[in-house]
């Protein structure tokens, strides 16, 4: 069964964001990694790239399919999780511990449009 983590905000396309001050760590949920199956490649943006809420910022490739990563917020990429370049399977091992990008938020009010863990659990049941 998929795990859900409290205190994060979730998008309909199964990305999460963990907010710390003016920064947010963005990754895919445990539910998403389950659905994708074994991840074999993560396509990530570069530091200083701009991301926009609702738009793609990369892709996750699994043995089943390639899926776009949709940014839950707008902002600037300040760090990417380079470990995923060689070990994309980290997303399968622990999706919440292994975030994909760290973003400096440009509009924190966008967080209000995202789901809390309870709403996200419901979303996954649908």
């Amino acid at each position: 069964m998929a795990k859900f983590e409290e205190g994060l905000r979730y998008s309909e396309s199964h990305e999460y964001i963990r907010v710390e001050g003016e920064y947010g760590y963005i990754g895919i949920s445990d539910y998403a990694q389950h659905a994708l199956g074994n991840v074999v490649y993560v396509d990530m943006p570069e530091v200083d790239d701009e991301v926009t809420a609702g738009e793609e910022f990369g892709a996750v490739e699994s043995v089943k399919a390639a899926s776009d990563l949709i940014s839950p917020v707008s902002g600037t990429v300040v760090e990417v999780n380079e470990a995923l370049e060689d070990q994309p399977e980290l997303l399968n091992e622990d999706a919440f511990a292994n975030w994909i990008i760290k973003v400096q938020l440009s509009d924190p009010s966008e967080l209000d449009a995202l789901m809390d863990v309870e709403a996200y659990k419901e979303h996954c049941k649908e």
Partner: protein, 510 residues
């Protein structure tokens, strides 16, 4: 056959100095390279395998036994229409009178071949409800790209710059890829819960960006095998915004003989001859992706196209005589500078003529009466499977499907057996696996397309095996999770293959 011995790579069977040939004693080895400039000559010998003839023959015979095609058994690969390739197709395409032709020989010397070419152009136009076809493109996605180039050329001829292509989120992956290759921007149209196009979302997109929309690409029935009930409304909306409608012909088999893309309001389409018209597919290719257009767009089609002409002679002895024949319109350099004829040719010479001969043979073998049964029988077979399997496999969209049916894995997923496991276990029972994990709308998609060819006995036997696997998933899940067990190679490591592909045959020790 001894698989341990002959199942190795041909390079692993190699023994230094072993040969299956001998050259004349006085053979002059300098002769073959004498004409080549020094820079182009090999510095060391090519690392070719060295084997005796018998080993080579056994090796390849062994490989051929490991193959699985429509001739070996049921091949229900969804979205691919793996229908039977009748033997007469091969016989006709292999005739010396056709196979020995040169694409550049004068038209007067190959009138029969040109007549077949012309008749196929006309037959496809009639079956599709469109005006004219080009047979030039060599595969389905090549046809998509050609069709989009036709659409772009049309808009440019109107002085209209349109850069966006609307594509439903359930579309074949080739649609957005073709649009991107054509330099157009893809905008996704959402699907409703029943898998059909969300017309309200389409309306919203058209009101936001209608004047920028070059076309909308659709396949109908869609990739879930569901007929789009509001297709007429959709084509009308897009036309009103000034865009054209593109029909992805991958799923045409469901409609063949029953209804026509042209009548639904589509302007441009491609047909996969290697699906709907029974020509070889996959490893047996090559493909062919003819592109058709409605009236008013013919001048944008690529060349060559074969045309029928009638010439009147007034002969001294016979008086007025009518001669009917076929000519090739190759286009000219000035056509390419003319905004009405911008494409030129998109493929080699006439395209894959051998494939066209097979497709035309198929059309003539069935005739206009029997071809009407293709779509309905393909639909009947898919619905029969759908109704008989829905107890064991989760049917996310009930109601009538067309030529293929999509399940979302097992109904009972408690043992952890996935769609992948079911597909692998099918191999043990001598079936080709269905398409899996496509369409992407469901997590455990299992997409079955039986085609119209299969007998009730074949389909029933397949259904029994599918139920048996569903039972095994409960009683002995490990058996299914570790399948296949009866194939030359067991469960392959997909992750390792994707992450660490070995693309050369040389072992690292060399």
């Amino acid at each position: 056959m001894n698989r341990t011995l002959y199942g190795n790579l041909i390079f692993e069977l190699s023994k230094k100095g072993r040969k299956g040939y001998s050259l004349p004693q006085d053979y002059d080895r300098t002769h073959t390279t004498a004409e080549l400039p020094e820079a182009l000559r090999r510095k060391e010998a090519a690392r070719l395998p060295e084997c005796d003839e018998l080993t080579v023959v056994r090796h390849y015979t062994n490989l051929s036994h490991n193959n699985f095609g429509v001739n070996d058994g049921f091949y229900p690969l969804g979205s691919c229409t793996m229908k039977y390739n009748p033997v007469i197709n091969e016989e006709i395409a292999g005739m010396k009178a056709f196979a020995g032709l040169h694409p550049l020989q004068p038209a007067v010397t190959c009138q029969g071949a040109l007549e077949v070419y012309y008749n196929l152009q006309e037959s496809l136009a009639e079956l599709a409800g469109l005006s004219e076809f080009t047979l030039n493109p060599c595969a389905g996605a090549h046809g998509e790209l050609t069709g989009l180039m036709v659409i772009r050329a049309y808009h440019e001829s109107q002085g209209d710059i349109r850069t966006k292509v609307l594509i439903p989120d359930s579309a074949h992956g080739t649609n957005p890829a073709s649009a991107a290759v054509c330099g157009l921007e893809v905008v996704e149209v959402k699907s409703l819960a029943d898998g059909t196009v969300d017309v309200d979302h389409l309306r919203q997109l058209l009101s936001e960006m209608g004047s920028e929309v070059a076309a909308m690409m659709m396949t109908n029935p869609n990739t879930l095998g569901i007929f789009e009930p509001r297709v007429l409304e959709i084509t009308e909306m897009v036309h009103k915004a000034g865009g054209l409608m593109y029909y992805d012909g991958a799923n045409l088999n469901a409609l063949l003989g029953e209804c026509r893309p042209g009548d639904m309001g589509f302007d441009v389409m491609h047909i996969n001859l290697h699906k709907t018209f029974s020509t070889p597919h996959g490893g047996g290719g090559p493909g062919s992706g003819p592109v058709g257009v409605r009236k008013g767009l013919e001048q944008f089609l690529p060349t060559p196209r074969v045309k029928k002409v009638v010439v009147n002679y007034d002969l001294p002895e016979d008086g007025p005589t009518e001669w009917e024949g076929f000519i090739v319109d190759w286009g000219t350099a000035s056509d390419i500078n003319n905004s009405n004829k911008p494409l030129g040719s998109v493929g080699n010479f006439f395209g894959n003529f051998g494939v066209m001969l097979k497709a035309y043979t198929y059309i003539l073998s069935l005739g206009s009466e029997n071809i009407k049964h293709v779509g309905p029988l393909a639909t009947l077979n898919a619905n029969y499977i759908k109704e008989r399997l829905r107890d064991s496999y989760l049917l996310p969209i009930s109601g009538l499907c067309k030529h293929e049916v999509v399940f979302d894995g097992l109904v009972d997923k408690s043992s952890g057996v996935t769609t992948m496991d079911v597909a692998k276990r099918l191999l043990d029972y001598g079936y080709h696996a269905p398409t899996i994990y496509f369409p992407l709308l469901f997590h455990e998609s299992l997409m079955i397309e039986p085609t119209e060819n299969e007998s009730k006995e074949t389909i029933d036997a397949f259904i029994d095996v599918m139920h048996k696997i569903a039972k095994e998933a409960k009683t002995d899940p490990e058996l299914v999770k570790t399948a296949p067990h009866n194939t030359p190679i067991g469960r392959v490591d997909d992750v390792l293959a994707a992450k660490n592909p070995i693309t050369t045959y040389w072992k690292s020790k060399e």
